[in-house]
């Protein structure tokens, strides 16, 4: 008999596969059009689902996995945050770094998504030529109050454009982790950093259920 977990894993894999198929279909899409489409998609999904707005973390994570993660080069994101130490990590350590970093970011992103009410996303004019292999797409999240700056760095890949850094309110996320990652690594090595992230994810998960 199929356990619930197996079914959930299967569904998640299916969602990912569908998402990836979607990516391949839109490989020719311009980076700003892609960002616009993905963000509108996500916002619409959140607005349509009351359980997400009440903070159903599992559901939000599934949504992010399905809609956003196929468009993210998470390996590059992690490698860039870890910086020069990345090359010293074993493949196994690299995988664990990626997994834990992903959990950390997706959880936080999910927390932000749970706040969505009447927001829309607007693109700002993009610089750079059509043949650039890396671009910055700049957007603004508009709702009540001041607009929130939300920018993306994207790279061209055979499977379409992939996000490798995000800027919230002027702060590039990967850059913001670089110093604290270096700090943990110099204190306890790469395993020390992994342990630290595991610990943070555990306490965030515990805190998330109580709120």
């Amino acid at each position: 008999m199929l356990s619930r977990r197996t079914i959930a894993t299967g569904l998640a894999a299916l969602a990912l596969a569908l998402g990836t198929a979607g990516v391949q279909a839109q490989a020719g899409k311009a980076p700003d059009a892609l960002i616009k489409e993905v963000s509108t998609d996500v916002l619409d999904a959140v607005k349509a689902d009351k359980t997400i707005q009440t903070g159903d973390v599992g559901k939000i994570i599934a949504l992010v996995d399905a809609k956003v993660m196929p468009h993210v080069n998470f390996q590059r994101m992690t490698a860039s945050a870890v910086g020069r130490y990345w090359r010293q990590a074993t493949p196994d350590q690299q995988k664990r770094l990626q997994d834990e970093f992903k959990t950390l970011l997706v959880r936080t992103y999910s927390g932000a998504l749970a706040q969505v009410k009447d927001q829309t996303v607007q693109l700002k004019p993009m610089r750079g030529g059509a043949d650039d292999s890396e671009v910055v797409v700049r957007t603004e999240v508009r709702g009540k109050g001041d607009p929130i700056q939300l920018d993306y760095r994207l790279e061209k890949s055979p499977a379409g454009w992939k996000i490798y850094d995000v800027n919230v309110l002027g702060i590039w996320l990967v850059e913001n982790y670089r110093n604290s990652f270096a700090q943990e690594i110099s204190a306890g090595g790469i395993d020390g950093l992994i342990a630290k992230m595991v610990e943070r994810n555990k306490s965030a998960a515990a805190g998330g259920t109580k709120s």
Binding site: R87, G170, N179, F181
Partner: protein, 255 residues
């Protein structure tokens, strides 16, 4: 939401003021930008303790007791004067068009927004710009200098600290000579600002491995971004160094 406003008030930590520095990026940049880290960490811990014990509980009670509409009104009134300050700073930065937009904002909100209680200007497409004197110094070419954490006031830098005495003057306390009223206004401003940041600081608890360095690096990045009005030039650094290595290249020589 109110982050820009904050920058003209220079209050609590989480994501307020910030100083653009030409040195960010490479591992170790934090060390260069923060030579007084030992002392700063002590002050940061003190501020956190005070926040946990007093400011945050009061702000939470305020948020729960006062309706959103009223809190938004309070936020708007405090920001209203900030628009005048922003206009002056836009002029000082050589951006008369932006300065004029701030003046129009102030006029619109004074007349149609009941003395700044409602932010009608934003509805009309005149958005808050929140320029402050720290940004003006940055535009004039003054570097951020070392990172500093002030007791009560939180993250700053040498440049922002020079601007701080001026920034603190920009408050509705200017409207009255009554000492008691001034204290009341200042307390309300701190509590209201903190209440606006409750969500952001809760998120910070979840996302940061080390809150001190996360806040510091975020502050420095944001201030730099603000100096360039949200579009700073790229800092050349080695950030993609690692990413350009072939995937899973654990065997690659590490220099």
């Amino acid at each position: 939401m109110t982050l820009r406003r904050l920058s003209s008030v220079a209050l609590l930590g989480a994501a307020a003021l910030l100083a653009g520095c030409a040195t960010t990026g490479a591992p170790g940049a934090g060390v260069r930008a923060d030579p007084w880290e030992g002392w700063n960490r002590k002050v940061y811990a003190f501020n956190e303790g005070l926040d946990e014990a007093v400011v945050k509980p009061v702000a939470t009670a305020y948020r729960d007791a006062v309706p959103q509409l009223v809190r938004t009104g309070v936020t708007n009134v405090f920001a209203h004067l900030g628009d005048v300050w922003s206009a002056i700073n836009n002029m000082l930065q050589g951006k008369p068009g932006d300065g004029l937009r701030d003046v129009m904002r102030f006029g619109t909100n004074t007349i149609f927004g009941v003395a700044g209680l409602f932010d009608m200007a934003t509805e009309a497409g005149l958005e808050r710009q929140g320029e402050d004197f720290g940004q003006t110094l940055g535009v004039w070419g003054v570097g951020a200098g070392p990172y500093i954490v002030w007791p009560l006031l939180g993250p700053s830098s040498l440049r922002e600290s020079v601007a701080l005495p001026l920034e603190l003057q920009v408050s509705p306390t200017l409207y009255t000579d009554d000492r008691g009223a001034q204290v009341g206004i200042s307390v309300l401003q701190v509590v209201n600002t903190r209440a606006n940041l409750l969500g952001a600081t809760r998120m910070l608890d979840d996302i940061a491995l080390d809150k001190y360095s996360f806040v510091r690096d975020g502050y420095l990045q944001r201030r730099r971004s603000l100096v360039y009005d949200g579009d700073p030039p790229e800092v050349p650094d080695d950030k993609d160094d690692a990413a350009e290595a072939p995937s899973g290249s654990a065997s690659a020589p590490s220099k």
